[in-house]
Symmetry: C2
Subunit: 473 residues, 2 copies
């Protein structure tokens, strides 16, 4: 990729009718305010043909292209602050519903996740990808990062919810892979290769998504628990009784409640006092079942594990319970983490991981830990904060991050990026922790599909030094 | 790849302790007896290290390697009859359980699917990939072909059931990707790229598989129906009532029963007379439900669609019902198909596809059609047979195959290989029907990961003419 940006490149696109604008500040920020980005322009195509025109021109001119969705990614995949200047490619003008029926929805990549939910509801169905940022996050970005969220335990991650994609490849070719089939074994699984590649192999322009019947009976309950062990044991009993019908199983710690109070949030809280741990359990059951009876049966079967339990008796109460979970990232951001870890381990190992990580950090310094997340997926957000009264700037995040990631990967054969991806923030971690054969394969695939390296340069994989750049230095 | 096979290659492997044998006839046959294979030797490694040694040597010598699982594949991926001579690589000696817990099973690729089921049962769990050939099919082959089967509607295909793989790459490197994580977004999804690549990108040597709690309550019923429309409508009602709890939904036609009688099978049959169509519905329900009540509720809700229904009252009766389904491929083989089609279309379009395909073939000649399969996945085995008293040899299969595939792909945006894969049988179909951009990407990925083209040459993608071969001609 070239170090500079050819002005003729932008002029040519403008002449061809592509919307080219100076990037407003919102395109150059990311949610945690860590990495300011730079870009020569933001391009806002209105069709896949325009995206194809842009990539063809970028490939010819050697210009880097950063696909930009809702901008809610947490690993810097959408911001590039250093090196050669690039253009941002925002698909926000491409948000049309192309087709919808009772089984599937074909929608353009720029549609916000909430618009996808709304389109599914028009046919009485549900698209079960649920994220805190769903008002802003776009479905294209959700697929590019293989987003997770709270319903993965039942429905799988974004990859599992996608039947087919339309994508523009780095050379400007449009791949029409918008099939709406549950089974299709015609060749290599390139759909799943592009999904989760964080815009480094091409640009997803539209997707055929699976829609689901809402369960006939649904309910939510909150359980107060003494320990993460009790949470994992309760999950096991719930899966045994309701195989496949547990829709969410989310862990909250006492520290999470304390942070919400500390930043002045108004807690609508079902228990008399703060238990050490809580889980939020959502069930989606068949016709003929009673959700109160189901939760009562679970309570009886797991009574020894449980300190207290409350079943939501109204939509409003369920909403309040969900707020306790959804406010966690907001409160965390206001407190200000030293570093955040999006990790996964085998589900059965979660309690041991929490105990060992807590003990390790207690030996390293004066930290507060807010650990929460998706027990059913073995996925925790294990986030580390300054002690009360101390400032984030007093701490060096790197030793903490390395210690936690070493423990996850070496101690538990876990993942140091469970659902957020690699972006630019974890490129070095990937080099440090990934199997060498996998890394080599990834580089070979990148070189084969994007030989000029124009797609989201520096994300996921380190940018190889170009000839031009190396002569500059 | 070289045209001949270097004897020094086999001698070197023998010296290194690899088991090298002349291939018995069973390795050179495939289930429908269509393509006789040839091979210089069958190699039976005992470890991933031996597989690595074999591929390293094959890559150096330019020898083609055909991975061989249970040999039950239906598209000739495991047999190569023409061109340069290859070696077969059978992992039958590698069938160890490496680890098992309540969430996952790590097992070597040569284990037959039934052994995988048995290993899951030792911890009270289930591995829900279910195929007619499960006594012979090996898990490595199931993953290499992304096998489907009767439980995909609930649990997904082989790809969805696999958490991680160990694989040997064409250059002999071992990739340790045996994670047991539900969520892992660390880089490109190479696991799913190798799964379904039919041994053309590397050899899967072990897999970490998802295990599931058996549903608390299970039951089976058979419904007699007037039409495929009624089957799809009944499926919709079942999904509405039992979202996520329908474990199988299999279509059988009257012709399927007639074929079983014609070849002398003893039918244990629940209805007084043959209905035009039947579906077999398996439910797996939460604790507290009664399966008879559940089926009764479904019957009431769908009474207008249903001619008759029988709920299996014992394991033996359920077994007899399943036999009506499982005997279909056996009877078909004895009757002798002109050609078989493993197709998928969007579920809602199944009835229209059957009507249009039947009408089209009625205009083309004197055929019998046995159409059956996985309604919930939109996947039919639409198989075409000679009229009574006529011989298979009287018919040209090609016009039938082309007409059916044209209708599937062009008329319904469907797939001409839903669950069986491409193998060698459908290489031309893939070239004919695949999106050109996808084909180009596939070739680029193959060239990047297997530059010498040693892995299962000629399967999935046509073998590019080698320099040596082209100078020969």
């Amino acid at each position: 990729m070239r170090a500079g940006l050819d002005e003729a490149f932008l002029a040519g696109l403008r002449d061809a009718g592509v919307e080219v604008a100076a990037p407003e500040p919102r395109y150059l920020e990311e949610p945690r305010g860590r990495w300011p980005g730079q870009a020569a322009a933001v391009l806002r195509p209105r069709s896949s043909a325009e995206v194809a025109r842009i990539l063809r021109a970028a490939d010819a001119a050697g210009v880097g292209v950063i696909p930009y969705g809702g901008g809610t990614g947490l690993v810097g995949g959408q911001v590039k602050g250093d090196g050669a200047c690039c253009v941002l490619l925002s698909l926000e003008r491409m948000d049309a519903v192309r087709a919808v029926d009772s089984q599937s929805l074909v929608i353009e990549a720029g549609a916000p996740l909430e618009a996808v939910h709304a389109a599914a509801e028009t046919v009485g169905r549900r698209f079960p990808l649920t994220l805190g940022s769903q008002g802003t996050a776009q479905i294209g970005g959700c697929l590019a990062t293989n987003a997770g969220g709270v319903n993965v335990i039942r429905y799988g991650n974004a990859r599992a919810l996608c039947l087919g994609i339309e994508a523009v490849l780095p050379d400007g070719t449009i791949w029409n892979g918008l099939t709406r089939l549950r089974k299709d074994n015609t060749g290599y699984d390139l759909r799943d290769l592009l999904i989760g590649s964080e815009g480094t192999l091409g640009v997803i322009t539209a997707a055929a998504l699976r829609l689901f019947e809402p369960p006939a009976v649904e309910g939510l309950a909150m359980f107060a628990l003494p320990s993460p062990q009790a949470a994992v044991a309760l999950l096991g009993i719930a899966q045994h009784r309701f195989a496949g019908c547990v829709s969410a199983f989310e862990l909250i710690s006492r520290q999470g409640l304390m942070f919400q109070r500390e930043v002045g949030m108004d807690l609508h809280y079902p228990f008399a006092e703060d238990p050490p741990w809580m889980v939020l359990v959502e069930l989606g059951l068949p016709e003929g079942m009673d959700v109160d009876e189901a939760f009562a049966g679970l309570y009886e079967a797991a009574e020894d594990l449980i300190l207290d339990a409350v079943i939501a008796q109204s939509g409003a109460q369920a909403q309040q319970m969900w707020e306790l979970r959804e406010n966690l990232p907001v409160a965390n951001r206001r407190i200000g983490a030293i570093c955040s870890h999006d990790i996964s381990v085998p589900v059965a190992d979660l309690p041991r991981f929490i105990a060992e990580a807590d003990a390790m950090l207690a030996g390293m310094g004066d930290y507060r830990i807010n650990c929460f997340g998706h027990v059913g997926d073995g996925n925790l957000h294990y986030n580390v904060f300054p002690a009360t009264g101390r400032a984030r700037a007093d701490y060096d995040p790197d030793p903490v991050k390395h210690a936690v990631h070493d423990l996850v990967v070496d101690g538990f054969n876990g993942s140091m990026s469970a659902e957020h991806g690699i972006g630019r923030y974890k490129v070095e971690d990937l080099e440090r922790y990934a199997d060498p054969a996998k890394l080599r394969m990834m580089r070979a695939v990148k070189a084969a599909l994007d030989p000029r390296g124009i797609m989201n340069p520096g994300a996921v994989l380190r940018q190889p030094p170009s000839k031009e750049q190396s002569t500059e230095t």
